[in-house]
């Protein structure tokens, strides 16, 4: 019997209730346990209760952590290529996002990660949008002069180029900062827009329902050191169950995109969707800033971007 530890940063719940990323982790654990007839057992550590969010990726590489469900781009400082997991405007719909796994870009990304000691188990994508204190931010012009938290290096670059005043602050201060006006817009996943309860302090929301420039790869990953030690059938089982759960992830992300709209509407915020025209403008800005910056990092990044652009 092998005991495996799965860590993530999201609020803990049960298989049937709570944050879908925690639910997915638990469903994965239950299903693999069942099909392996108890040969593989899991402990789930939600809410960063095992280790700091940022330490998970590197712990997996070292074999000190078995599995983790974590935004891939968080490891961007360690493996520059993974920044492609949250590249503004590079992915604009779920259909495109879920096509990555079997496209050249996905295969190349998996190869790079495997090289770095990480096995991709489940490809999970999330859409996101922007909550704001004033008018909704749809067009790049709307962001001009606004104090916005982009949440990642690449988003910040695009927002800055659009004329926004980019602010950085820890995520536990987002609510307070929106409340006091220290920041006027927050760009993040639909799920986080709900869990941060920003609707209480926002007047507008731009959703991901009609496409978005904000799509984040947030895979379930496994340590290669640990994976390679398992017998072939168990390896296959893990990958199979991981792949099967992608449908659940897609359904849940889409539900959260709808749900966030409902929540903000209830709070009397103005809820709008992204328009294709605006999306293209954002994409143009991103291409000139974040994409360019990314492909200039190294040849491997440049190649990855080229492959990703083929899916557009």
């Amino acid at each position: 019997q092998t005991a495996l530890k799965l860590s993530h940063q999201f609020p803990g719940g049960t298989v049937t209730e709570g944050d879908f990323r925690d639910r997915l982790s638990r469903m994965f654990a239950a299903e693999v346990e069942k099909r392996s007839k108890g040969a593989l057992k899991f402990s789930i550590y939600p809410g960063s209760s095992l280790m700091k969010t940022n330490a998970q990726f590197s712990a997996m590489r070292k074999g000190a952590l078995d599995l983790s469900l974590v935004p891939l781009s968080y490891a961007g400082g360690e493996v520059p290529e993974v920044n492609i997991g949250l590249m503004p405007g590079l992915v604009t719909s779920y259909e495109q996002a879920y096509g990555w796994k079997n496209a050249e870009v996905g295969k190349e990304l998996s190869r790079i990660l495997y090289d770095k000691g990480i096995v991709m188990v489940s490809w999970i994508w999330q859409g996101g949008g922007m909550a704001s204190r004033g008018k909704p931010v749809v067009d790049p012009d709307d962001a001009k002069g606004m104090k916005i938290r982009g949440g990642s290096r690449e988003m910040d670059m695009m927002l800055k180029a659009a004329g926004a005043a980019v602010v950085t602050l820890p995520s536990n201060e987002i609510y307070a900062a929106m409340q006091t006006g220290a920041m006027e817009g927050a760009l993040t996943s639909s799920t986080s827009l709900i869990s941060f309860r920003l609707e209480e302090v926002s007047k507008a929301l731009t959703t991901a329902r009609g496409g978005s420039y904000w799509f984040m790869l947030e895979p379930l990953m496994m340590s290669r050191t640990v994976f390679d030690k398992l017998p072939k059938d168990q390896q296959q089982l893990i990958l199979t169950v991981g792949a099967e759960l992608e449908a659940f992830a897609l359904k849940s992300s889409k539900e959260d995109d709808q749900q966030v709209a409902v929540v903000y509407q209830k709070a009397n915020a103005k809820v709008v969707d992204m328009t294709p025209a605006s999306l293209q403008k954002w994409q143009a800005i991103a291409r000139a800033t974040a994409w360019k910056d990314f492909s200039e990092k190294n040849a491997s990044c440049a190649n990855l971007l080229k492959l990703a652009e083929k899916t557009l």
Partner: protein, 449 residues
């Protein structure tokens, strides 16, 4: 070995190592790495340093040195004494006014400094001799300062609240606001008791004098002219400016809590330079040096405690302990009582910083499950930890008093502190009955949660 047995072993080993007198930071680290070596895969040992770094590299935590600097700038300069004298000049006519003045001075200073011992030593070094000169019994004088000093972690800014906010994932700004109501409540309770006790001691002194005994200094009249009083006013002004300036920056949407820490420290240093002419490296170096010493000591404990809680979590000790507590199906209030009792026991030996770091992973999940508001609990826990600061055997504030006034026997200090402990218990009860004492202000300013 079951998770709970392993947990008991972990606890026992921790106890032994801690009581060996090993510095808390190293003790936490050594116990954690020891258990990693014996019970965890070897690769865990490779993650030790990165884990510690990740824990420390948080801008929220690293505002601690700056909050300490702000307190030290005032506490270790003539500014602290001025603050004290000014309040004293205005309050001395009220019966027990000197006691009240000391409580108020502690509160004002607490609102600028982040830690309790800092508050204690800043006000106590002027306050205790002054009170004794005026006839206050040594135990009473020590009690006022020890208790008043505990306000340091309840009134914002507060180092322990920073750690709590990070551990409980609550907004630091909201938590800071929640500390103000209970802080004022304690100030009123302490001041009320000071009046009562001072009048009692005054009557006793009068009785002795009338029977032909010694004339206590209680009976001497002190007088300040109006001119003297007015002259003292501008000396308080800078503190008010500093206090309000920082509050406006934080709650007016100008600065994040960590930026506020930097702003506050810089403002405090600027005040020293402009008003007291303290700006030369020679004058500043004791202030900066002592701030760094304290913050280095604290941050090393904070960093190492991450290893400690990581091992606890990895070996499923925290989860099993938390699950065990939940499985007892204690009623909400019994659960709270049990947890607070545990905090008190920890308070016998450990400083608040270590208590929060070591207990948070175990106590927060059951509390969350029981439906307690974690902002409210953070405040209650802070008051309970304040009690730990002044109750024996290990009370940091009592150590501070021993340093300021070594001639007051420990027994007197402990007896002097005792009534204040009762008042703090009363405050905790009031907080349980009227939670809005804590949550009212943040709800009003930042909107209901």
């Amino acid at each position: 070995m079951s998770d709970l047995t392993l947990g008991a072993l972990y606890g026992a080993v921790t106890l032994v190592v801690m009581f060996s007198g090993m510095p808390i930071a190293f003790a936490l680290g050594i116990v954690a790495t020891g258990f990693m070596y014996f019970f965890m895969p070897p690769s865990s040992l490779d993650t030790v340093t990165q884990n510690v770094y990740e824990e420390m590299a948080s801008i929220t935590l690293l505002s601690i040195p700056l909050f300490i600097l702000k307190g030290a700038a005032i506490g270790k300069s003539p500014a602290g004494r001025d603050l004290y004298s000014a309040i004293h000049t205005w309050m001395h006519k009220i019966p027990g006014g000197l006691g009240i003045a000391n409580v108020f001075a502690c509160a004002l200073f607490a609102a600028m400094a982040g830690s309790s011992p800092a508050t204690c030593s800043a006000i106590g070094s002027a306050g205790i001799p002054e009170m004794r000169k005026r006839g206050y019994s040594p135990g009473f004088a020590a009690g006022i300062i020890a208790a008043g000093g505990t306000l340091g972690i309840l009134l914002p800014p507060s180092i322990t609240m920073i750690l709590y906010a990070v551990a409980a994932e609550q907004s630091l700004g909201r938590l800071f606001l929640a500390g103000i109501g209970p802080g004022i409540l304690l100030v009123l309770l302490f001041a009320g008791y000071a009046v009562y006790r001072a009048r009692k001691e005054y009557r006793m002194a009068l009785e002795i004098y009338e029977k032909g005994g010694q004339k206590s200094a209680y009976l001497e009249d002190e007088h300040f002219t109006l001119k003297q009083k007015v002259e003292m006013l501008p000396r308080v002004l800078p503190f008010i400016v500093l206090l309000i300036g920082v509050m406006v920056a934080l709650y007016g949407g100008f600065a994040t809590p960590s930026e506020t820490a930097g702003l506050g420290a810089l403002l405090a240093l600027a005040l020293l330079a402009v008003i007291y002419g303290v700006w030369k490296p020679k004058d500043l170096s004791p202030i900066l040096g002592s701030s760094i010493k304290e913050s280095t000591m604290l941050l090393l404990i904070i960093g190492m405690s991450l290893l400690y809680s990581y091992v606890m979590s990895y070996l499923h000790i925290s989860q099993s302990a938390a699950a065990w507590v939940v499985s007892l199906h204690l009623s909400k209030w019994v659960l709270l009582a049990v947890i607070l009792f545990m905090v008190i026991v920890f308070g016998f030996f450990l400083p608040p910083v270590s208590i929060i770091l070591m207990t948070a992973p175990i106590i927060l999940p059951p509390l969350r499950e029981a439906g307690f508001d974690l902002i409210w609990f953070g405040i209650v826990m802070t008051v309970v930890m304040e009690m730990g600061l002044i109750h024996p055997p290990v009370g940091l504030n009592i150590f501070v008093i021993k340093n300021i006034a070594p001639d007051i026997p420990l027994k007197d200090v402990i007896w002097g502190v005792f009534p204040f402990l009762l008042l703090m218990v009363l405050a905790v009860l009031l907080l349980c009955v009227f939670p809005s004492i804590a949550t009212g202000l943040p709800d009003m300013i930042m909107g209901a949660k």
